[in-house]
């Protein structure tokens, strides 16, 4: 009896935790391998709701319409003038804000409308670049307006919603996309 109780007292009553680290390592490596840290970033777009009828654009004044055509050879035609993508942003900013009050540019930013049309054979890369420049033009304008009004740069996350709304009411982004024409479709 005495012998038994002695052995009980001697027994190490802690669980051996040295393998815990190995188990945790195993799990860690499993998660490292099976998971991906992909930061999904991109250009956010709001598509127009679907309707069977083509929108009527005949009542728009030509001076307010900024038409951008991208053909199947990835060339740009802006208001019937060929243009390179590099000049697009500056030109669009000038068109929308019309700082010198030109007769053929938008009456005021609220009336400006951008019309984007492409062929089915247009490269997606080119299309996105053009879209990026047009969005960039508006971002530049919003930034400018925000700096002037509130003294802070325009930022989707940091600027209060009311401020953003005020700026967007002043310079709304109106970008209409026409159905692509069927040129240059891949067979």
């Amino acid at each position: 009896m005495a012998n038994k109780s002695k052995s009980k007292g001697r027994a190490n009553n802690e669980i051996n935790a040295s393998s815990m680290a190995d188990i945790a390592f195993l799990l860690l490596i499993f998660f490292l391998v099976t998971t991906t840290i992909v930061e999904d970033k991109g250009i956010t777009v709001k598509l127009p709701p679907w309707s069977e009828e083509e929108p009527d654009i005949t009542q728009l004044k030509t001076r307010n319409v900024y038409s951008v055509l991208v053909n199947a050879q990835n060339q740009l035609l802006v208001r019937n003038q060929p243009m390179s993508i590099r000049d697009l942003r500056k030109n669009a900013v000038e068109f929308i804000s019309n700082p010198y009050g030109r007769e053929d540019y938008a009456e005021k930013p609220t009336k400006a409308i951008i019309m984007l049309k492409n062929d089915r054979g247009t490269n997606y890369k080119t299309y996105l670049e053009v879209y990026n420049e047009l969005k960039g033009a508006y971002n530049d304008l919003w930034n400018e307006a925000s700096m002037k009004k509130y003294g802070v740069p325009y930022d989707e996350d940091k600027l209060p919603l009311a401020y953003r709304k005020a700026i967007k009411a002043e310079i709304p982004m109106v970008l209409s996309e026409a159905e692509p024409t069927a040129f240059g479709e891949e067979k």
Partner: protein, 162 residues
């Protein structure tokens, strides 16, 4: 002199590893939280184009991804090199892409609580080298299914300052 020798002999030379599991668990939890399970195998080669005016997609559970690109080499004997649309782990059937996309969006919507459904974004991961035709078809299908919030996936241009 003998005092020192005695002390040295008694000291435990092992570093305590008792806190090691805790450290590893901390790392483990970090990775479990920040990462997302790869839910489908990508069967297309997709190199997204560069852009500068980017928005981050915040909540992964509200993002449905549609892939468009050319099949990887393994699938070329079956599908050829024409651009394909991948939904989850299948290609959309040629000729009924629209129905497939609508079904895909509909089944994604049912997984999201009703109050959050308007915040669902569709991320279009499209290869830079496909033509707009297939992208336009996807866009039309999305518009018809009432999914209007779309994000064109792109990488930050290396020279961009913002």
């Amino acid at each position: 002199m003998s005092k020192f020798a005695k002390k040295r002999g008694k000291a435990d030379p092992n570093i305590s590893t008792a806190s090691l599991p805790d450290i590893i668990f901390m790392l483990l939890f970090f990775f479990m939280v920040v990462t997302k399970m790869r839910d489908s195998e990508l069967k297309l080669t997709i190199i997204t184009p560069f852009a500068s005016e980017l928005t981050k997609l915040e909540e992964k559970s509200l993002v449905a991804t549609i892939y468009v690109g050319r099949p990887i080499e393994k699938y070329r004997p079956i599908y050829g090199t024409k651009p394909q649309i991948q939904l989850n782990d299948k290609f959309a059937k040629v000729g009924q892409e629209e129905a497939d996309i609508r079904y895909f969006m509909e089944s994604f919507r049912t997984k999201v609580p009703e109050s959050r459904r308007p915040q669902i974004t569709t991320s279009l991961r499209v290869d830079g080298n496909v033509t707009m035709g297939i992208v336009a078809d996807v866009k039309t299908a999305l518009r018809k299914s009432g999914q209007l919030k779309v994000n064109y996936s792109a990488k930050r241009r290396p020279d961009a300052t913002l």
